[in-house]
C-alpha cells in the first residue's frame, strides 16, 4: 500500500485535532441552550470528520478522502438550510430558541 511521505505522528496530530473538534461539537450540542448554536456544533462535528478525511487522504495519497469532504460540505449546506427553516418555525412558535422550551412531546 502506498503511503504518504509525512509520518504517522503527523497523521495522529491531525486526527487529534479532528477528535477535539468532534468532542467540542458534542459538548457544545449538549450544553448550549440555543438551537442555532446546537446546529453549529453538529457542523463542527462534521468538520472534525472532514479533517480526518482530508488528513487520511493525504496520508494514503488517496483523493477519495478529499472528494468525500466536498460532499460533506454540500450535505452540511443542505442541512443548514433545513436547520434554519426549522429554527424559524420554532421561533415563530414560542419566541425562543431554548430547546428546553419545546417539550410538549414527552412522557
Amino acid at each position: 500500500m502506498m503511503l504518504a511521505s509525512f509520518g504517522a505522528a503527523t497523521l495522529a496530530s491531525y486526527l487529534v485535532v479532528s477528535g477535539i473538534l468532534l468532542v467540542i461539537g458534542v459538548v457544545g450540542f449538549l450544553v448550549r441552550r440555543n438551537l442555532i448554536v446546537m446546529f453549529l456544533c453538529t457542523e463542527l462535528m462534521f468538520q472534525g470528520a472532514a479533517i480526518a478525511f482530508v488528513a487520511a487522504g493525504r496520508y494514503y495519497l488517496d483523493y477519495s478522502g478529499q472528494v468525500m469532504v466536498i460532499f460533506i460540505l454540500t450535505v452540511a449546506a443542505a442541512e443548514a438550510a433545513l436547520a434554519l427553516a426549522l429554527v424559524v418555525f420554532m421561533h415563530r412558535q414560542r419566541d425562543t430558541l431554548d430547546p428546553d422550551a419545546y417539550g410538549e412531546l414527552a412522557e
Binding site: 500500500m1 497523521l11 486526527l15 479532528s18 468532534l22 461539537g25 458534542v26 450540542f29 438551537l35 446546537m38 446546529f39 453538529t42 462535528m45 462534521f46 472534525g48 470528520a49 472532514a50 480526518a52 478525511f53 488528513a55 487520511a56 487522504g57 496520508y59 494514503y60 488517496d62 477519495s64 478522502g65 472528494v67 468525500m68 460532499f71 460533506i72 450535505v75 443542505a78 442541512e79 433545513l82 436547520a83 427553516a85 426549522l86 418555525f89 420554532m90 412558535q93 430547546p99 419545546y102 410538549e104 412531546l105 414527552a106 412522557e107
Partner: protein
C-alpha cells in the same frame, strides 16, 4: 459506467417522479394538484415493475457492490411498501387548504401548497433507500443515507400544521444531525484505518488486518461509531429516544413512513458495513458484543416502554424500537440465515406496521386525528373494517401464528438459535411475551371494549389509508402463502459474491508470500 447506470433505472424513475410531483403540486390546475399522490404512485408502480426487468437483463454486469443481489429485493420492497405509504398519505396534505379553495374561501398560492413537495420528498427518500443497495463506497453510502433522511425531516414538519409536528421535526432533525455526524466520524475513522472508501477494498484491508492479529483499534472504533450513528436510523437503543416523540408528533402517514423507510435504510447500511468485517469467523468480538448489548437493550426498552403509553402512535413507536431489536438478532446471526431473515422481516414489518398506522391515519374523532387509546376504544361499532385491520396488524406485529409477523419472528429465532445466540433468543421470547400485553390492548380496545360515552365517536374519514390498512391486513393473513417466494428472494439478495472473495483472498496470500 453504463452498467452502473443501468441498474439505477428505478432510482431515475423515482427521481423523475419526484420532479413531476414537485411541479405538479404547484400547478394551478386543481385536478392535477389533487392527484399528485396518484402521480407518485404511478411512478412507484413503474419503478416496481422496472426492477425485475432491470435485474433480469443479462447484457449488463452488476457492479461489484458488497451484496450484489440486495438491490433487486430492496428496491422492489421499497417500491411496494412505498406504494402503500403514498396511499396512506392520500388526502393528508393540504386537505383543509384544498377544501377552502374548492369552497372559494381561499385562493391558490403555490407557496402555501405542500402536497407536491411532500410527495416529491417521499419519492426522494425512497430513492435514497434504493441507492443504498448500490453503494460501492462510503461516499455513496453517506450521500444515500442523507438522501433518505433529509426529506423525512421536512416531511415530519409539513405533515400537519401543528406545533407538535414542528417540535417533532426539530427533535428529529437535531438528533439526526448529531447521529449523522457520529456516523460520518465513524466513516472517517474507517478511512483512516484502511486508506480507502471502497467497501470491497475495506474488506480486503480488514482481512489483512485480521491476518495480522486482529482489527486495528481505530477501525473497531470507527465501525462502532458508524454503527451507532446508523442505530439512530433504525431507532435502536441507545439512539432510540427520539422515536416515541417524533412518531407521536408526526401525522400517522408520515409516522408509518418513518417507521419503515429510514429503518430499512439503516438496516441495510449496517449490513453493508458489517459485511466488510464479515461473519465467516464471527464478527469481531467487540462489535458483536456491542450489537448484542444494543439488541438486548432495544428489545427490552422498546417493549417495556410501550406498556405505559396512552398514545397509540407512541406505543407503536416503542413497538417499532422493539422490532429493530429483533432484527438485530438476525444481523448478529450472519449471512446464512440471519440476514435473509432480516430482509424478510423488514418486508413483513413494513407491511404490517404500515397497516397499523394507516388505520390510525384513516380515522378521526370529532374532526381531530386520533391518537390516544381512548379514541380507538370500541372502534368496531363504527368501523368494523378499521378495527379488524388494526387487530390483524397488531396480531401480526405481535407474531401470532399464522399471521405474517410470526414467520418473520420464526426466521429470526431460527437464525439466532443457529448462531448459538440462545441468550438473545430468550430475551426476545421474554420481550415478545411482554409485548403481547400492549398489542392485545390495541386488539382489545378496537374489537372488544365499548366506546367511551363522552365525546364523539371515532369514524373513518379517509378512505385511502383504510384501503391500505385492509390490504396490509390481508397480506398479513395471506402472506404465509407467498412466504416461500419472499424467502428465496431474500436468500438470493444476501448471496455474497463468493467467487470474487475467493479470487481476492488467495491473491492476498500470494502477495504475502512474495513479501
Amino acid at each position: 459506467m453504463l452498467d452502473r447506470l443501468w441498474f439505477l433505472i428505478p432510482e431515475f424513475i423515482l427521481l423523475a417522479g419526484a420532479m413531476v410531483c414537485a411541479i405538479g403540486g404547484i400547478s394551478t390546475f386543481a385536478p392535477i394538484r389533487k392527484r399528485v399522490g396518484f402521480i407518485a404512485s404511478i411512478f412507484l408502480v413503474i419503478a416496481l415493475f422496472s426492477v425485475p426487468y432491470v435485474y433480469g437483463q443479462t447484457d449488463y454486469t452488476h457492479p461489484e457492490t458488497m451484496l450484489p443481489g440486495l438491490g433487486k429485493y430492496i428496491k422492489m420492497m421499497a417500491a411496494f411498501v412505498g406504494l402503500l405509504l403514498v396511499a396512506t398519505s392520500g388526502g393528508l396534505i393540504d386537505r383543509g387548504y384544498e377544501r377552502a379553495i374548492g369552497a372559494g374561501k381561499d385562493r391558490f398560492d403555490p407557496l402555501r401548497a405542500n402536497s407536491g413537495e411532500f410527495h416529491a420528498l417521499l419519492l426522494l427518500s425512497l430513492t435514497g433507500v434504493m441507492l443504498i443497495c448500490e453503494a460501492r463506497d462510503l461516499i455513496w453510502l453517506f450521500l444515500a443515507l442523507e438522501l433518505v433522511s433529509l426529506p423525512t425531516y421536512v416531511m415530519v414538519a409539513i405533515s400537519r400544521w401543528s406545533k407538535t409536528a414542528q417540535e417533532a421535526a426539530m427533535k428529529y432533525f437535531f438528533l439526526g444531525a448529531l447521529s449523522a455526524a457520529l456516523m460520518l466520524y465513524g466513516f472517517a475513522l474507517l478511512y483512516v484505518s484502511t486508506g480507502t472508501l471502497v467497501l470491497q477494498e475495506i474488506t480486503e484491508a480488514f482481512s489483512a488486518q485480521q491476518n495480522n492479529g486482529g482489527l486495528l483499534v481505530i477501525a473497531q472504533v470507527g465501525m462502532l461509531l458508524a454503527i451507532f450513528g446508523l442505530l439512530y436510523k433504525i431507532a435502536a437503543a441507545p439512539m432510540h429516544l427520539y422515536a416515541p416523540d417524533v412518531y407521536q408528533g408526526a401525522a400517522s402517514a408520515v409516522t408509518a413512513f418513518l417507521a419503515f423507510v429510514p429503518k430499512t435504510a439503516g438496516m441495510i447500511a449496517i449490513i453493508l458495513l458489517l459485511s466488510t468485517v464479515g461473519w465467516e469467523d464471527g464478527l469481531p468480538p467487540a462489535i458483536e458484543m456491542a450489537l448484542w448489548v444494543v439488541a438486548v437493550l432495544t428489545m427490552i426498552l422498546g417493549n417495556i416502554g410501550a406498556l405505559l403509553q396512552r398514545s397509540v402512535k407512541r406505543m407503536l413507536g416503542y413497538s417499532s424500537i422493539a422490532h429493530s431489536g429483533y432484527m438485530l438478532i438476525g444481523v448478529i446471526a450472519g449471512p446464512e440465515l440471519g440476514l435473509p431473515a432480516v430482509l424478510v422481516y423488514l418486508f413483513i414489518y413494513g407491511i404490517t406496521n404500515t397497516a397499523a398506522f394507516a388505520t390510525l391515519a384513516s380515522l378521526s374523532r370529532g374532526g381531530k386525528r386520533v391518537d390516544s387509546l381512548e379514541d380507538i376504544a370500541g372502534l368496531y361499532t363504527t368501523s368494523p373494517l378499521a378495527a379488524a385491520s388494526m387487530s390483524v396488524a397488531s396480531g401480526s406485529l405481535l407474531g401470532i401464528p399464522p399471521l405474517f409477523g410470526f414467520w418473520g419472528k420464526l426466521l429470526l429465532f431460527a437464525a439466532g438459535i443457529a448462531a448459538g445466540q440462545i441468550s438473545l433468543i430468550i430475551v426476545a421470547a421474554v420481550s415478545s411475551a411482554i409485548s403481547a400485553w400492549y398489542y392485545l390492548r390495541l386488539i382489545g380496545l378496537s374489537l372488544l371494549s365499548n366506546p367511551h360515552n363522552h365525546g364523539e365517536r371515532t369514524k373513518v374519514t379517509l378512505r385511502w389509508p383504510l384501503a391500505v390498512a385492509v390490504v396490509g391486513a390481508c397480506i398479513s393473513i395471506a402472506g404465509p402463502l407467498v412466504l416461500e417466494g419472499v424467502m428465496v428472494d431474500a436468500k438470493e439478495a444476501i448471496t455474497l459474491p463468493e467467487s470474487e472473495l475467493a479470487m481476492s483472498l488467495p491473491s492476498l496470500e500470494v502477495d504475502d508470500e512474495r513479501e
